[in-house]
């Protein structure tokens, strides 16, 4: 049986969010082993946009998780907040700008850049395809990994949550290089690095616009959590390529899913989510770029560098 908890915060203050984290964890009833000596918390810091945009994990939810871990395991457990550099983001600046440096000092937890330190090349096969990915050794040696993804749409893959958050832990900064085989790499990374607990940050979600929804989704199965999160965002999980591949590769299970909805129903969240037809948006965006390139070629006009792919025209 796979359990997923869907809960809602009574408000948006730090205390209300902390209370929500505790409720989610209590309902999930995850048993943290008393001999756990290190916990890695992996937020989703994809860029320098702060939590109010709905794009990056709210440090207040991570703060609540730290309190919950200490409440369960005591003060001696080593807690790390870990993130890797991304194509356009450097973790050292993201930690500073998005409130994690302050949180680390306040809570006395360490911040770890997964792009630095000892990196190992891990080989894995996904759908008959061999992939080799660079992973920080700390991530492989941890006792517990808590993934704290965002509940949001994404222009490249449509939707990003627990499975995609682990893709962000690849130590190579230029992850854009993986975009051509993204579904395979997401699943490969989830095969290499197993998440113990997922706590989806839906406090402020990012759909058509950001919206304060106050939602948290907890589980110990990334595939099941993504299933519930996608439904909450008004999407059909079966239309998300990497999710389908993850099911096929048995990363998780949704057949025996039990959803605990307290105090809110999934259908209510789905109604509230700022939905957008992302496939249409993606298609329109591509069409616009194509039309722009055709025009620029014809009129010999300039395409601004911000919209250039690789060839300037």
């Amino acid at each position: 049986m796979v359990q997923v908890v869907l809960t809602k915060s009574p408000g948006f203050s730090e205390d209300a969010i902390r209370e929500t984290v505790f409720r989610a964890m209590d309902l999930l009833n995850y048993n943290l082993k008393s001999d756990t000596d290190s916990v890695i918390i992996k937020p989703n810091l994809c860029y320098y946009w702060d939590y109010s945009t709905g794009e990056t994990t709210d440090p207040r939810i991570v703060s609540g998780i730290i309190d919950w871990i200490r409440g369960s395991l005591g003060d001696d457990v080593h807690i790390y907040i870990a993130e890797a550099d991304a194509s356009a983001m450097r973790t050292k600046y993201a930690f500073k700008m998005l409130g994690y440096e302050k949180l680390g000092l306040e809570k006395k937890v360490k911040l770890a850049n997964l792009s630095e330190g000892e990196i190992v090349e891990k080989e894995v096969v996904v759908a008959g395809r061999k992939l080799v990915l660079p992973v920080n050794k700390t991530l492989l040696e941890k006792s517990i990994l808590i993934s704290v993804p965002k509940l949001k749409y994404n222009r490249t893959v449509g939707f990003t949550c627990a499975l995609k958050n682990i893709f962000g832990a690849i130590s190579k900064p230029y992850k854009y290089a993986y975009h051509k085989k993204l579904a395979h790499v997401i699943v490969a990374m989830n095969k290499i690095v197993r998440t113990n607990i997922v706590l989806v940050d839906g406090i402020i979600v990012s759909g058509k616009t950001p919206k304060k929804l106050g939602v948290a989704i907890a589980g110990d199965d990334a595939v099941a959590c993504d299933f519930v999160a996608a439904k909450a965002a008004g999407l059909e999980p079966n239309r998300i390529e990497y999710w389908k591949l993850a099911v096929k590769e048995k990363i998780g299970d949704v057949n025996s899913l039990v959803l605990i909805e307290n105090p809110v129903k999934l259908s209510e969240i789905r109604k509230e989510f700022p939905k957008q037809n992302y496939l249409l948006q993606k298609w329109l965006w591509r069409l616009q770029l194509k039309a722009l390139r055709t025009y620029a070629r014809f009129a010999r006009d300039i395409i601004p560098p911000v919209l250039q792919e690789d060839n300037l025209s």
Partner: protein, 359 residues
């Protein structure tokens, strides 16, 4: 007269200047310089000669002018090098990191008897040009209050293909400042250009992102010449996806008010389609297209560079005066000095002001 020019620095803005310079009539883009091999490859695709060091470029090529698009900390030395070789210079804003540097640049340029123009492209928005005309013609009476907003993501804008934000933006010493020096520069420049002689009445800098430089600023200026009070609101804190941008100037006079919003396209996509159709027609008829006019925002970059080259070619006075730019840097530098002075004073107090307010 054919102008022989070089572009120095192929970052985001440098690439735009490069693409513009390639298209101008009577301008020969001789070579470009950039430390990055990847950036130089861009120019090589257009069969333009490349150098990894701008000093080698300047020493080796026969040039009339240089377009300098380097990080703030490299501006002084590169302008000096180009002017010593008798080149006229176009440089991206800001002119300098601080007043001392700006004055040094101005002295050098005068001593070498070359011309320098700063790329304050916001002056070249149609909406700003119209606003200036309205003020000059007295159509809103005497302007008493002017407000402005330019709030975007600054160096944190996210291109289609993700690239890291250059590290110098995070370093106060290298950049000279944050949102005020980067985006606020345009607003101070426009107010200085329209009203002149600005004095600081109030200033506040914000640090939401805990960076060593400010990510927002509010400055109230007063024109000593005209008495107009000007409010500058600027920031880097807002996520902005192309083609959107958040800029406006409102002028309140003794006879009503006028805003740049009145003259800027309300629907950027409709504007783009109209401009694309017009430019396509111009191309068919063999006329000159208005480069980048479909974006509204980027068109002004091309326009100001075109004006610079035109003025050089016709040996006319440059449309942006160097003295004005030293004044703009002076105003911004004074805001920074006031800020650090207030921090120093706050540290000297037994109870910090912030704590006193909180308790």
């Amino acid at each position: 007269m054919l102008l022989r020019v070089a572009v120095i620095g192929l970052g985001k803005m440098g690439k735009l200047h490069f693409l513009s310079a390639l298209r101008f009539k009577d301008v020969k883009l001789v070579a470009v310089a950039d430390k990055s091999r990847k950036n130089r490859k861009v120019a090589e695709r257009f069969h333009v000669k490349t150098y990894d060091d701008y000093t080698n470029l300047i020493d080796s090529e026969e040039l009339d002018a240089a377009v300098i698009s380097l990080p703030n900390f490299l501006k002084k030395e590169s302008i000096a090098y180009a002017s010593e070789r008798n080149l006229d210079v176009f440089v991206d804003k800001p002119l300098a990191r601080n007043l001392a540097e700006a004055e040094e640049i101005a002295r050098k340029v005068r001593a070498e008897d070359v011309r320098l123009m700063v790329g304050v492209n916001y002056r070249y928005f149609d909406s700003v040009q119209k606003l200036k005309t309205i003020v000059d013609e007295g159509r809103v009476g005497d302007v008493v209050l002017a407000t402005s907003e330019l709030v975007m993501d600054g160096p944190f804008s996210h291109p289609l293909v993700p690239k890291p934000v250059p590290e110098w933006w995070f370093d106060k010493e290298a950049s000279g400042g944050g949102a005020l020096l980067d985006l606020g520069y345009h607003l101070v420049d426009i107010f200085n250009w329209i009203f002149g002689d600005l004095e600081i009445e109030f200033s506040a800098l914000g640090h939401r992102f805990s960076l060593p430089v400010e990510d927002s600023a509010v400055v109230v200026l007063k024109s000593a010449k005209t008495g107009v009070r000007c409010v500058v609101n600027t920031g880097w804190f807002s996520k902005m996806i192309f083609p959107n941008f958040n800029f406006r100037i409102n002028l309140h006079g003794t006879v009503g008010y006028v805003s740049t919003d009145k003259f800027a396209p309300r629907k950027l996509y409709s504007h783009a389609m109209k401009e694309v159709a017009l430019n396509s027609l111009k191309r068919v008829m063999g006329h000159q297209v208005r480069y980048l006019s479909y974006t509204y925002y980027y068109g002004s970059f091309t326009e100001i560079l075109r004006q610079f080259f035109e003025s050089l070619r016709k040996e006319e006075e440059l449309p942006v005066r160097l003295e004005e730019q030293v004044q703009v840097v002076n105003t911004i530098d004074s805001v920074y000095k006031r800020f650090f002075e207030s921090l120093r004073k706050e540290e000297e107090l037994p109870v910090r002001l912030g704590e006193q307010v909180l308790h």
